[in-house]
């Protein structure tokens, strides 16, 4: 890791640790969950070149499974989160196996179709509470002794989970496996001709991205103490695409910045009433027209250039 990057990451780490002292912890936790979700998505679109339009299914499924495990089955928090992640990974495996056989728009459509199927399943299943949502998920103890009911404690737990997720993404991107993914993104035919089993790599990236999205979803359900259909709706799949594009596709910090911008807009424009959608829309249009590479991508390009 270059020295400058180390300084940057250290600064961000300190910032993350100090943030809840000034800002509202629940808001920060929401931002962190979405940052992880967008980064997991970026692993697929930014580093493998696969545009999934159904990532909400991983976020939401993990949230529902984790919430149900805690609330109804009474599982310990850590196992419930793992169950959510496992469920998302499994769904990712099934959907991925079928979707990676096609490319481009067809790939996106297959993922969208599956995510819509899951949406309707969650709408109908009795345990999800339909449009009322799965409500009142208790925050108990993590590992039996960390009391999650306190917002500040919960924040540091979420921060740790997000960091673990980021670390995993960082390691993946900088591993030989990550190099192969980038090769596939740049030129799939060439990667294939070099003897790489492209489909296996793509599937693995897909499952990894699904599992990390699941981690974000399970954590988010715990933060808000409920899980609703919003998280499996196709709007959410679109939102994560926007976050990634806005922040900078294929950059490490881009999705985080994008998620932060989108979540901040949603949260702080809420008091502007009917103008929320108009203003967010205008900002998106402006960003896409003015910063093609996304906020972080644009800054990185300036520094290099």
């Amino acid at each position: 890791m270059p020295r400058s990057h180390r300084i940057l990451y250290a600064a961000l780490l300190i910032l993350g640790l100090l943030a809840p002292l000034v800002a509202y912890p629940i808001f920060l936790m929401k931002a962190l969950c979405f940052a992880l979700f967008a980064s997991a998505f970026n692993l697929l679109i930014g580093f493998t070149g696969l545009l999934s339009f159904g990532h909400a299914m991983f976020l939401g499924s993990a949230g529902y499974i984790c919430g149900h495990a805690i609330k109804v089955l009474g599982w310990p928090t850590e196992f419930a989160i793992l169950a959510g992640v496992a469920a998302s990974a499994l769904i990712g495996y099934v959907v991925g196996t079928l979707a990676i056989r096609r490319q481009g728009i067809y790939f996106a459509m297959i993922t969208l179709a599956f995510s819509q199927m899951l949406y309707f399943i969650f709408l109908q299943m009795p345990f999800t509470g339909g449009e009322d949502g799965l409500q009142g998920i208790p925050r108990r103890h993590l590992f039996g002794f960390i009391d999650l009911d306190d917002d500040l404690t919960m924040y540091y737990v979420v921060f740790a989970i997000t960091l673990a997720g980021f670390w995993m993404i960082y390691r993946t991107i900088h591993s030989p496996f990550g190099q192969v993914l980038k090769a596939i993104r740049e030129n799939e035919a060439r990667a294939l001709s070099l003897g790489y089993d492209v489909d296996r790599y793509k599937l693995l990236a897909f499952v990894l991205s699904a599992a990390l999205s699941g981690l974000a979803g399970a954590t988010k359900a715990l933060v808000f103490k409920f899980e609703t259909l919003t998280d499996v709706h196709w709007h959410m799949s679109g939102e994560v695409v926007l976050m990634t594009l806005l922040g900078g596709m294929g950059t490490i910090l881009g999705p985080t910045v994008g998620a932060l911008i989108v979540v901040t807009l949603q949260n702080y424009l809420a008091s502007l009433e009917g103008w929320v959608t108009v203003i967010t829309g205008a900002i998106f249009v402006l960003c896409v027209l003015a910063f093609r590479r996304g906020v972080v991508g644009e800054i990185a390009a300036r520094i290099k250039g």
């Binding site: 800002a23 509202y24 709408l123 449009e131 409920f226 932060l260 901040t264 809420a270 008091s271 929320v276």
Partner: protein, 409 residues
């Protein structure tokens, strides 16, 4: 190195942006927390429910505060509003922040069931008050009931039950249901079917349609061939509107009557009387019922440019009665205010024979309405004829059927 430092600075600036916007304010202690009584209107300002709630709810709350005199002794009363975008997270998060950082004491409207239930939990956690006017789910006063939440205007039980019972009594004894195929639709259908049967009516059948169905023709033809006198629409919003339009195009409304189980006056306004005429529905409020409702509604119309829906009138009434209870109790502490409200019988232009029950349900008279024919409508918004008044005691789910853990049996 300079450039790298710059990049670090820029990144931290981004990370700090939300921090700067969320400075906490110091809290004061006293009988009125923070020396101010603050009311939040949390609703859908931009989406599909913004017509029946939205800006109108904010206006209604402001009107109530102004009518109350903007002040309680020397304590100021303030109203704030926000758009929850029909997203439970945005709603719950906003409400938490209102309670934690902006001295809000009571939040109202709260339409949309998912938002309604999520925010009820927040109110209970923070020991402040949620007066839900806009959401329909009966879960708010059953499984998810809590001592800091009041369900004020209506619920799906009251709408389905009121319509079902009253229609059977007036001769509509054979029913066919057109049901949205998910939990809400199923429960609306079941509640209504039960009351139809209990009153000697017959359910000839039902057909389930997917949520947001585009084409109702096959479902409606089944409803038509059932020869049932009443077609019960156990769905909501766009589905109800599409079903009514299609029923009209097929000429079904000539021989059979539609019963809208969740229809607001704003829906009728956008459908037009030609399409909606003859339909039976239950409502908790109609602007043109008597002098008291007209007096409020005309003032509301001046400001909002439309007649108030049940939600708008409910928000006004909820805010007003909340402020009265705060005054009577001499504090804005939620538990004390709720206790004060439970003790008193409430009666105003909106609540007739109002009584706050143990489970948080505000019961009051409901009305069975029939949508007028175009020819009978004499002036703008002259839409309903009152067919029957459903007394408060039977309009809502009886306490004996309560699934609320707070209710001692």
């Amino acid at each position: 190195m300079k450039r790298q430092l710059l990049s670090a600075l820029v990144a931290s600036a981004f990370a700090l942006a939300p921090v700067a916007m969320a400075q906490p304010k110091p809290a004061a202690v006293g009988k009125f927390s923070d020396g101010i009584v603050k009311i939040g209107v949390l609703t859908d300002m931009s989406g599909l429910y913004s017509d029946l709630g939205g800006q109108g709810s904010f206006i209604a709350a402001q009107m109530a505060v102004a009518d109350f005199g903007n002040q309680l002794g020397n304590v100021k009363i303030e109203v704030v509003s926000a758009d929850h975008q029909n997203n439970a997270e945005t709603g719950a998060n906003r409400m938490r922040e209102w309670f934690d950082r902006q001295q809000v004491d009571m939040v109202t409207d709260l339409l949309n069931s998912a938002v309604g239930i999520a925010t009820a939990k927040v109110a209970n956690e923070k020991k402040r008050l949620a007066i839900n006017v806009g959401a329909g789910s009966t879960r708010i006063t059953n499984e998810d009931c809590n001592p800091h939440t009041i369900h004020y205007a209506y619920d799906t039980y009251a709408l389905g039950y009121g319509t079902g019972k009253a229609i059977v009594k007036t001769g509509g004894d054979t029913w066919f249901f057109l049901t949205a195929d998910y939990a809400f639709g199923h429960s609306l259908e079941k509640d209504t079917a039960d009351v139809v049967k209990a009153n000697g009516g017959k359910v000839l059948g039902q057909v389930r349609h997917p949520l947001n169905a585009a084409d109702f023709s096959s479902f409606l033809l089944q409803a038509q061939s059932s020869k049932a006198k009443i077609i019960g629409l156990a769905n909501a919003g766009g589905d109800t509107i599409n079903a009514i339009k299609a029923a009209n195009e097929f000429g079904i409304t000539k021989n059979q009557n539609l019963a809208g189980l969740l229809v607001f006056i704003t829906d009728i306004h956008s459908l037009g009387l030609n399409t909606a005429q003859g339909m039976l529905l239950t409502d908790g409020f109609y602007w043109d019922m008597d002098d008291k409702t007209r007096a409020f509604s005309k003032r509301f119309f001046e400001k909002a440019k439309k007649m108030p829906s049940m939600v708008h009138a409910g928000v006004y009434s909820a805010t007003m009665n909340y402020l009265k209870a705060v005054k009577a109790a001499g504090t804005d502490d939620a538990a004390t205010v709720v206790a004060t409200l439970k003790k008193s019988n409430v009666d105003d232009f909106f609540l007739r024979n109002g009584k706050l029950r143990e489970d948080g349900r505000m019961i009051h008279d409901m009305y069975l309405m029939q949508v007028k024919k175009q020819a009978d409508s004499k002036y703008p918004w002259d839409y309903y004829t009152l067919k029957a008044t459903i007394p408060a005691a039977e309009a809502f789910q009886p306490m004996s059927a309560s699934r609320c853990p707070m209710v001692k049996k």
